[in-house]
């Protein structure tokens, strides 16, 4: 899952991106509205965390510009917490609204719910044969016993599991599992796929040469 955080408070930006990266997200960051707007339009993010008061272009401006082209889930995270501001933000196209100061775990939960919904899933638990993926606890069990996956391995499983039965191209996987600072030409993805196959079974992820990967 790849996220974009647009926030001008650098300390907060750093803390949030670190926490979300630890959760297995690929995180891009932007410190002002202009940069944020550019990135949001250029990439397909799974969700965007957006501050309201931003330099150059404010959050509403970013949201308005984004909504003309994309339906990326957006959660607004702002000090403007009054009911009227919430309504204004939601009307402008935000999918959720969280007022500062906030609880990091609440932000995580809301992000998770947004991503799950936008992938068309209503439940936290995805069961594929003997494998069960818990998107809430971010863990995977094989025949009832937990499997130790790294955060990045888990992200790959979750991404494919949420799109079960669909062929997902390598480009799409690169777009959603690696952030802007990682080199997409490397063979990191192949390494990760083979590691997951070792842990969850060789047939768990199928490869169609030239098309991509799929969990049947």
């Amino acid at each position: 899952m790849r996220l974009l955080i647009i926030e001008d408070e650098l300390d907060l930006l750093r803390a949030l991106s670190r926490a979300l990266r630890e959760d297995g997200y690929a995180v891009d960051t932007a410190e002002d509205g202009e940069d944020g707007s550019y990135k949001a339009l250029a990439n397909d993010y799974d969700a965007i965390v957006l501050d309201w008061m931003l330099p150059i272009i404010n959050g509403l401006g970013v949201l308005t510009a984004l909504r003309q082209k994309k339906r990326t889930p957006v959660i607004m995270l702002t000090a403007k917490g009054s009911v009227n501001h919430r309504i204004e933000g939601l009307k402008a196209g935000a999918d959720d609204y969280l007022a500062k100061p906030f609880d990091v775990n609440e932000l995580r939960a809301r992000l998770q719910a947004l991503i799950r919904r936008s992938a068309g899933q209503a439940r936290d638990q995805i069961i594929i044969g003997e494998v069960s993926v818990d998107t809430w606890g971010k863990n995977v069990t094989l025949a009832g016993s937990p499997v130790a996956l790294t955060a990045r391995e888990y992200a790959l499983v979750e991404y494919l599991a949420l799109r079960r039965g669909k062929m997902v191209s390598r480009t799409e996987l690169f777009e959603h599992l690696f952030d802007e600072n990682e080199d997409s030409l490397s063979n990191l993805l192949d390494v990760r796929v083979s590691l997951v196959r070792k842990k969850l079974g060789a047939d768990f992820i199928q490869t169609k040469r030239g098309q991509g990967y799929c969990i049947p």
């Binding site: 001008d8 500062k100 100061p101």
Partner: protein, 462 residues
């Protein structure tokens, strides 16, 4: 003694009632007395007439007896029928004494106890009221010394007077009643604006601060009171709104550093981390706490300047103060690559040196922080027609026209300049404005975006 609490209306009515009772009482008594005196005069006139007619009759009797010794008393006196009837009609009586005190003639009803009055020289007719006031008597001494005496009953007059008294009482009561009704109406009308004021004040005390007194009173005092109260309410309302806005602003400003504190600590505590990570977290928390501390300092400054309008003012020179500030900011400017161009001419003014330096430092700091890379700031002091003046210009991106009117408001940041890297708490200009106001100085900004932004501080004449 504490008087019971009465409404103004009741009090005014009470006093008006008392006053009316006194006036009516005095008038009634006067009317009553006049009537009584009038009655007495009428009776006295009757007595006079009877006496003088008796005197005439006595005179003619004396002429007939001319042959007798002139000094002797009349042997007889025949009261004419008509005159006797007239006296009797009044329930009266008559007596004639000789000059030796012998009764020459008297009517049947004359009281037996009646004695001849003493001669009072010089007086002709004397009247007086006797007994229990039921009888009015008059007497007359003839030149030879006889005494003519007439008494008339006045009980009918007295009865009429008592009736008149009752009539006066009833009339007075009626006038009093009507008077009080009219008075109640007048007082009610006069007090109405006060009632309006009370109900407006009550609404305000219940928290509806936007309430104003709407009164179309025509009395000057109440009109003034209404005006004064309305302006008081307005300033209360404004102060309250400002206070509310201020609290909201403070809460809003604290949100961001608090968010950082909470997020940082929460994330750090989630799992075991390296020493460096902890150091980073603590450093971030410290920065946030320091920012909150700075915000609190600035707010206290602002509150103090606004509440204590007159700090100690003494003559000082704007040029010298500016020079001091520039010296302390030179390294900051150099670090940002900003060139400071100064033209400092003597500019004497009255003020608090520490506060003025704060204004100067704020303005120059803004000129440095909001400047473009490798830009310059122009700092000038001068004396223009006895007004000391400070001008600080910078070559930064400038301020949009729609932001200009708000630039001195607390926590106002133009959206484009609002970056944590350059922006402070958003209180610098508000503090500068408060200090300028306390010094009777004016602070103005003009900006041509992208070219030049100038803040001008003009002091009043020294």
């Amino acid at each position: 003694m504490k008087l019971p609490v009465l409404s103004i209306r009741a009090r005014i009515q009470l006093w008006h009632g008392l006053l009316l009772v006194c006036i009516l009482g005095a008038l009634g008594i006067a009317a009553w007395r006049l009537r009584w005196q009038d009655e007495l005069r009428r009776v006295d006139r009757e007595i006079d007439e009877v006496l003088s007619q008796m005197h005439d009759v006595l005179g003619s009797t004396r002429q007939r007896d001319e042959t007798r010794k002139p000094a002797s008393a009349p042997a007889s006196f025949a009261m004419p029928e008509a005159l006797a009837g007239r006296v009797a009609a009044h329930g009266g009586y008559y007596v004639l004494w000789s000059r030796f005190g012998l009764v020459v003639a008297s009517s049947e009803h004359a009281p037996a106890s009646l004695a001849m009055p003493k001669i009072e020289p010089g007086a002709s007719i004397i009247t007086h009221t006797r007994g229990n006031g039921d009888v009015r008597e008059g007497y007359l001494f003839t030149p030879p010394g006889e005494c003519l005496f007439v008494g008339v009953s006045i009980s009918a007059e007295r009865a009429a007077l008592v009736q008149f008294g009752w009539w006066l009482f009833a009339f007075g009561g009626g006038v009093l009643g009507i008077g009080m009704l009219v008075d109640a109406w007048i007082v009610r009308r006069a007090i109405q604006p006060v009632e309006d004021i009370i109900s407006a004040a009550e609404r305000i005390s219940h928290g509806k601060l936007s309430t104003r007194i709407e009164s179309d009173t025509t009395s000057a005092e109440l009109e003034r009171l209404t005006r004064v109260l309305n302006s008081t309410f307005a300033s209360l309302d404004q102060a309250f709104t400002q206070q509310t806005q201020f609290s909201a602003d403070v809460a809003h400003e604290l949100r961001t550093p608090v968010s950082v504190l909470i997020a940082e600590s929460q994330i750090a505590l989630e799992r075991e981390r390296s020493g460096e990570d902890y150091r980073d977290t603590i450093a971030t928390c410290l920065r946030s706490a320091q920012r909150m501390g700075g915000l609190i300092e600035s707010l206290l400054d602002l509150a103090q300047i606004q509440s204590v309008a007159h700090a100690q003012h003494s003559p000082c020179d704007l040029a010298a103060l500016t020079n001091e500030v520039i010296n302390s900011l030179r390294s900051t400017a150099a670090a940002q690559g900003i060139e400071l161009r100064c033209t400092l001419a003597d500019a004497p003014c009255e003020g608090n040196a520490a506060q003025l330096k704060q204004v100067i430092a704020n303005l120059i700091n803004n000129a440095i922080q909001h400047n473009q890379r490798a830009g310059h700031a122009i700092i000038e002091t001068s004396l223009d027609q006895n007004h000391a003046m400070l001008r600080v210009s910078n070559t930064g991106p400038g301020i949009a026209p729609e932001d200009l009117p708000h630039i001195f408001e607390r926590f106002y940041r133009t959206d484009t300049s609002r970056s944590r890297k350059t922006g402070g708490a958003g209180l610098g200009l508000a503090i500068s404005k408060a200090i300028a106001d306390a010094h009777g100085a004016s602070l103005s900004v003009e900006s041509t975006p992208g070219v030049m932004t100038t803040v001008r501080c003009t002091f009043s004449e020294v």
